[in-house]
């Protein structure tokens, strides 16, 4: 039986690395942190969904 292999866990990290590469030179820290604060509620999904 052929054993399959995983790509990697948390594959989104690689997608976001590409997306992030353009942001800092186009939006300053204050803008980036303001956006980050507003999506915190969405970020909570990550902790919300971890089954302990």
């Amino acid at each position: 039986v052929k054993r399959l292999e995983r790509l990697r866990e948390n594959v989104g990290v690689d997608v976001f690395a590409n997306a992030w590469s353009r942001i800092p030179e186009r939006a300053n820290y204050d803008v980036r942190s303001a956006v980050m604060r507003h999506v915190q509620a969405v970020m909570n999904f990550r902790t919300l969904l971890i089954r302990g």
Binding site: V15, R22, A34, V39, N44, L49
Partner: protein, 293 residues
Amino acid sequence: MLEKLTAKQEALMSKVAREYIALLTKPKPYNRKTVNTWLDVVYRLYDMKRPQRVEVAQSPVAALRLASDLTGTKQTQLDWCGICDAGWVAFYDYFERIGVTTREENADVRALRGFLSMAWDSVLLDECAIVVARPTLLLVDDDGNLHSTSGPCIEWGDGERDFAYHGTWIDERMVRDPRGYSREEYLAITNTEQRRALSEIAGWDWVISLLGGTTMDRWTDPRTKLAYELIQAGEQRLLKKQSPELANGSQPTYIEPVHETLRTAAGARKWQATRLTPEACDADPALVYGVET
């Protein structure tokens, strides 16, 4: 370089956040083409092509079981790439909407948005992509935390289910038969959040009655206005204490075991926060963080 957001752009931030929060409880119908678009993106990242075999698992448990079978190794983690990444996707989506990035530059993130709007997560293998379907039921409280006091807060297509109380994972029994716990079973719950959850579901009056407790001392911290109550329950002593105000305005109550020789509620509060003896805490219950040793 964008240095300041306009009023219109500021208003858009909340709108985007609300859109993504809504995706958690109101997923779109599963669409194979949308899912495959994301799978094309992610396999391309690793210089691979989407495998012909794409399996839709009805729960994380089912996905991990299949992945374990196919890899020959016990798999315990999903890819952590799907609905749990909604925050990051919202972040990048926003920058596209205000023109900081272009539609072309954001194409991969947009593909992930399509995926997470109708799927939960995945376990991606070299020759099989396992996609986890959305749950058939997902209930949250006003703060967006998983929550239900009448049944499971989350239920999957294959019958897997879980229970939570305002974001704290709890046993099914706490929902189905909260007052069925014996005194010993109640005291055996060592997770203080789970004990609080059961106490709130069953009612604090029931808890005090169950424990056969009598109040030894009450004290309200004059500085914080938080209330404390030292309870004698058989040979055990318990401290019932009020939380400082949380972000949502609530002040939950906790009940925790303390040393059986403590005599005052204020001393018990200090005993929990320091390494001092019960006698020393009762004698001088003033608590100043950063000073006591």
